[in-house]
Symmetry: C2
Subunit: 353 residues, 2 copies
């Protein structure tokens, strides 16, 4: 009998600038793993939802980081949720839903060690894809970055960049509705800004594509008459530099990401105004969400509670079919109108549009 | 009787670039304050030693900072030690030595509120000028910056810039001889580097004027085979950027100063490699020594103990006469061969060279 085929996306070349679909990230056929391949302790998984994340851009590069790079020719790494099709481990059985942090990646099917994946409960309230967003890395990143590094107090003024993005929108809501901060969101375009105000309840939104340079500084000053206590930064670049100029005594700058520079081929200039850290006795700190893995359980309980109480909501940008993933990845960097919420690839839904 | 005259240095113009002696900082005659001018609670002080400090460059600028700028035409601000000539306060009497944080400044004589100055004990072990250096702002800056922000542990690798300077040399010694760190000092010129190794006992010294760019990166990698746990930064600029590239997980960057940019007329580029903070989950934090004023007493006790035990030593670059202060200030920025240790102006010693 001929070997059955599935589809995967491989990293075929290390991108220079934005990853080119079909050249750097290539959708192609591959042998389909089967029940017969399972070893003791392993499970066969049908991947259902894959999420795309700016951090993936870093994994495509051949450099030392908190994780080794994806090897050339390998299936692209990524977080997904899927269902167990067959199990050689007593902890999981057919039909169980599991969260795969990196075990299956950009593929329709895969085999994983049962101990490496996490069984999840799904319900009408909390569908499977939410474990890739509000209850997944996104929610956890917002939670630990804001709480552990940002240390919000009631009445603090917090500025959030990529505020309408997956992580940023969680940060805005937790800061506003759980901690009682004054929240200023920065996003590209008036539509996203309106959404921040109407749906998330932020106090002010600044459209960085509209207001640049001096205009941005003025808009920020107006939105933060008492200065900035916390800056949750997802983007870096000139926005970071401008925010630096308005930080308060003992401010906290949470360095979550620097997406504005991820596709640069030469390093972007750093924030020359970082010397504000001295004048204001402030702190700037980076983190990787996995540092807090031991506390994910408690964090998920909090996040689930806030979801159910309606303190936080989430938005998904669902893409139908794995074949569209390489192109959808570019939305994170503003292409095709940019992403609206967490990008979720509905892997097997090729024919839905 | 004609009013007696003294000498002072005034800030006559806001410098653009390096402060020009005779134009920006002007040595001139001024009325000499007398006993008859004293109000209740005040003392008349003969200033004996004045120290010069890169932070003064910031005070000359008209911008919001942790202290208001020096006004144009005013006596330049600075720390000094002097002797009480006459007192209208019971806490101080003629002949007492006092530390004046900013009360007298660049002047031969001045009047201060007794409650604002600090009485100091001097001895053969601890001459008066040491209260401007090892036991003054310098020692305190090194102490709190290193201990509170750097959080050194035995065996940590610490890199110190402007390591042969006043603050840097204290940091090197405390890190090495009190905390047992591996210490790498960065300084300009082979003579300073040799001094760091021979007299201060650092493990390695790097001459940043000799080794730039790739050479510097290589020298740093060789000196820090296990990466950098703490960077105590006095200079900013390209050195900061290069050190960033070699920091370890959970590294601490103590932002004490950024002297390489103090005379810039346009902002120098910031450290583009600051994104290492994310990858390594590291922290970068600024401070102003006066934040810790409540703990100065305990810190001075520790510093005094370490001085007496020989764990730390200090070096002074003594300049004879207040008239030479405007020119001497430029040594901090490398002119006239640069400063060797803390610059101390022996105010009344005009004729000694
Ligand atoms: N430290 C960690 O452990 C950790 C974990 C997860 C994610 N992250 C970081 O968190 C950040 C957000 O990730 P996410 O997954 O939540 O993605 P996301 O925010 O949903 O998507 C990225 C958003 O960034 C904005 N953006 C793109 N290019 C920009 C530019 N040049 N200037 C300003 N904004 C730009 C876009 O929003 P606009 O349309 O508003 O421009 C885009 O929607 C990323 O930097 C990521 O690397 C860090
Ligand atoms: N945060 C606080 O509370 C606080 C308090 C006091 C001082 N400080 C800061 O601490 C730093 C040191 O002050 P200090 O009083 O101890 O002065 P210092 O180190 O005795 O003198 C400054 C030294 O900086 C070095 N330098 C000058 N320009 C440089 C450049 N372009 N690149 C690299 N190095 C350069 C020179 O050493 P080389 O000959 O080796 O180049 C010079 O000797 C300053 O940045 C100051 O602002 C901060």
């Amino acid at each position: 009998m001929a070997q059955q085929q599935q589809h995967v996306v491989r990293l075929e070349k290390r991108p220079v600038g934005k990853p080119v679909p079909g050249q750097d990230l290539v959708y192609q056929e591959a042998p389909m793993p089967s029940e017969d391949d399972l070893k003791d302790g392993e499970v066969l998984i049908k991947n259902v939802y894959l999420t795309l994340d700016p951090a993936m851009r870093g994994w495509m590069m051949d450099r030392k980081s908190y994780m080794p790079p994806v090897e050339l020719g390998a299936i692209m790494r990524g977080s997904s949720v899927g269902q167990v099709m067959a199990s050689c481990d007593s902890s999981l059985q057919e039909g169980d839903w599991v969260l795969c942090r990196i075990e299956v990646g950009w593929a329709e099917y895969g085999i994983a060690e049962a101990s490496k994946v996490t069984k999840i409960d799904i319900s009408d309230d909390i569908p499977a894809s939410v474990h890739l967003g509000a209850l997944g890395t996104t929610g956890l990143t917002a939670y630990f970055g804001l709480i552990e590094i940002g240390q919000p107090k009631e009445g603090d003024t917090i500025v959030v960049s990529a505020a309408a993005g997956a992580t940023g929108s969680m940060v805005c809501q937790i800061a506003k509705h759980v901690f009682g901060c004054r929240v200023i969101g920065i996003a590209g375009g008036s539509e996203k800004c309106q959404w921040l105000i109407d749906d998330l309840g932020v106090d002010e939104a600044i459209d960085y594509k509209q207001d640049e340079g001096e205009d941005f500084a003025r808009a920020l000053r107006k939105a933060c008459p008492d200065g900035v206590d916390i800056y949750f930064d997802n983007v870096g670049g000139w926005i970071l530099n401008e925010v630096f100029k308005q930080i308060n005594f003992k401010a906290r700058i949470v360095v979550c990401g620097a997406i504005s520079g991820y596709n640069n081929t030469t390093p972007a200039p750093g924030p020359s105004a970082y010397t504000q850290l001295i004048i204001t006795s402030s702190r700037m700190e980076g983190f990787i969400v996995s540092n807090y893995a031991k506390r994910f359980k408690e964090a998920k309980e909090d996040l689930t509670g806030w979801l159910k109480e309606g303190k936080i909501t989430y938005k998904e940008d669902v893409i139908h079919g794995l074949s569209k993933a390489p192109r959808a990845f570019l939305k994170l960097f503003g292409e095709d109108g940019g992403n609206r919420g967490r990008i979720i690839i509905d892997i097997h839904a090729e024919d839905q549009d």
